[in-house]
Symmetry: C2
Subunit: 361 residues, 2 copies
């Protein structure tokens, strides 16, 4: 019988929103893109932040098998697609998804424009600053906040607002910009795959427009290779007669769970050869990837490193924080189907990039 | 006052479907991809099938201006996006859009699977073979046929069916596979832009899944660079338990008119630097492209060559066939906004590629 790393089962639930109010707003420093660092070490060891374990060997074997012309499982460069979940797979997702923090932080600006919301729920609760009350917001109330803060402006206005926020917002635990809390070992995987002519895509349940504002700088992934939950836009003309695209509260793609393979078909039109995730929201993407012919790599990041990052999820016998849920069933499916589970504690030498990683030790 | 090439105005309407029943079904020959031909001529003249007119000069000047590092309007390679309408811009669209022919041809197979449709309209009319009656089908009836023939199967089944059809179907006038009736001068533009690090995209009102089945072979454009009208899919499991994506009758993106810039934002996330079209359905894409900063190229193909291809559209004082409508208003907007109108008759030395073009002379 398949067993998880810890058989203890679910404890009481902890809210995903509980650490929200701890977010200070401080100026950010200019940063060099983490994905561009240490390219010179590639030749010797493409994955220097990985311990020499089965997970690292699986990645290297996959790349050799699919890119060596004499391999029976050779994949032509045009078909080399690799997809990556973002939250919890490429960067930290605890204690709350970064984009949700953004939306909550935007509430005062939205209320300033639409004063009638000041006394209306759930906006009133967010403005109160009452952490406990905010943590108890229902999914429906959270969706109202997302709709109010992510739609109604032009795509250019949204992009400018999100970029400005990312410059100043800090993670409550490390007091660092969110964009510095990417995982160094995964940045190495992105680089390694691209060096072997793989096109790397983000396939995220997060907002496509939000992630596109920093994915190129942070991960080296251009906007056209970011697939995410996406709302419709409407084409029209601004006061000066110039064309504008306005973000509408109409969901076109809910890019999570079954929505991930559906989004991959919509936006890419090819089945990936490699897929990386960390939660039940990634299950269908990994299944879909592995169902293709030839060598297909499916990997799940397990957050089991409370000291250097976080440890969470029912598969570890820890609470389901509702952020990046890794269940026992997912762990069992991974084992039975030959997916590789990455232990952050055991497989990764470093968690965060370069100077950030050193400063946080 | 802006004037069209011909001031005679609208004559009686001709149905887009009238030539439908003339389609013979013959086996196809193996073909070399037209986009791969004549690469060696690029160095000397990147656009050898173009006469040395203003249209050709506009394309060459745009490429020089955006790719020369010392140009004030230099565009970094990552941002070089060019979008192309397909029907009437990259290949022939008369007498009826190729995909509509496909859908009508698929009706017998759909009825064989769903016999209750045999006596139901509009399927009964299509099966009758009565050209006049088929030509009179309403847009709503045509949409019913599209839904029945483009949805309900897995994406892999659809792709196989469409590929098989393209192998055998022939254009009624030239008795050639549709995929050979691409425009040689436009294939040269695609190649020329790609040689200068532009990413070339198709942005079509046609079905995204349909165009993706041949775009790589025919235009050198991979599936992930085809943006088209797109329906939803649903993720599920086949009889063998393997994951499948099934095409659903739910329209996510109507990629025509305002839907083109909306689709570009959804699928690419960057504003194009160059856009090519041939009808009112491309107007908003060209406006959106030109509204960006720096050098932006907007071009419209005018079908004014009845001898070598077709001449049609109100801007020429010819009937609106409802296929690729080029109105006087579009012509006037092009003139007033500095878009370039390409005359197929005057600007193009050749219409179709290599041996096809020679055989058709």
């Amino acid at each position: 019988m398949a067993q998880g790393p810890n058989q203890t089962t679910r404890i009481s639930r902890r809210s995903a929103l509980s650490a929200l109010a701890a977010l200070p707003i401080l100026p950010a420093f200019l940063r060099t893109p983490a994905f561009a660092q240490a390219a010179e070490t590639q030749a010797a060891d493409p994955l220097p932040s990985w311990n020499d374990s089965a997970a690292k060997q699986a990645i290297i074997a996959f790349v050799h098998e699919t890119t060596n012309r004499s391999s029976p499982r050779f994949v032509p460069p045009a078909e080399r697609i690799a997809t990556f979940d973002q939250d919890g797979t490429l960067w930290a997702e605890q204690p709350i998804y970064t984009q949700v923090v953004y939306c909550l932080d935007r509430v005062p600006a939205v209320v300033a424009r639409r004063p009638e919301l000041r006394t209306a729920e759930p906006f009133k609760t967010v403005l109160s600053g009452n952490r406990e009350a905010i943590a108890k917001l229902s999914m429906k109330e959270l969706e109202e906040i997302l709709a109010a803060t992510l739609t109604g402006m032009t795509v250019d206005e949204f992009s400018a607002e999100a970029k400005a926020w990312l410059e100043t917002a800090r993670h409550p635990r490390w007091d660092r910009p969110y964009t510095e809390l990417t995982y160094q070992p995964m940045l190495e995987v992105l680089r390694y795959l691209r060096a072997n002519e793989y096109k790397t895509y983000i396939v995220t349940g997060g907002g496509q427009d939000f992630v596109r504002t920093y994915a190129e700088r942070v991960y080296g992934i251009p906007p056209e290779q970011v697939v995410g939950s996406a709302g419709g836009t409407s084409y029209g003309y601004g006061p000066d007669g110039r064309p504008v695209l306005t973000k509408e509260p109409k969901l076109l793609l809910n890019d999570d769970n079954a929505g991930k393979p559906e989004g991959i078909h919509l936006m890419i039109g090819r089945r990936p050869y490699a897929a990386f995730g960390n939660s039940i929201g990634d299950r269908q993407m990994l299944e879909y990837t592995r169902a293709g012919e030839g060598a297909r790599l499916a990997m799940l990041v397990l957050h089991d490193d409370a000291k250097r990052e976080y440890a969470y999820g029912p598969a570890l016998g820890l609470p389901d924080t509702k952020v990046g849920t890794f269940t026992q069933a997912l762990y069992d499916e991974a084992r039975s189907k030959g997916w590789t589970v990455i232990s952050m504690k055991d497989d990764w030498k470093e968690i965060f990039p370069g100077s950030v990683g050193r400063a946080l030790k």
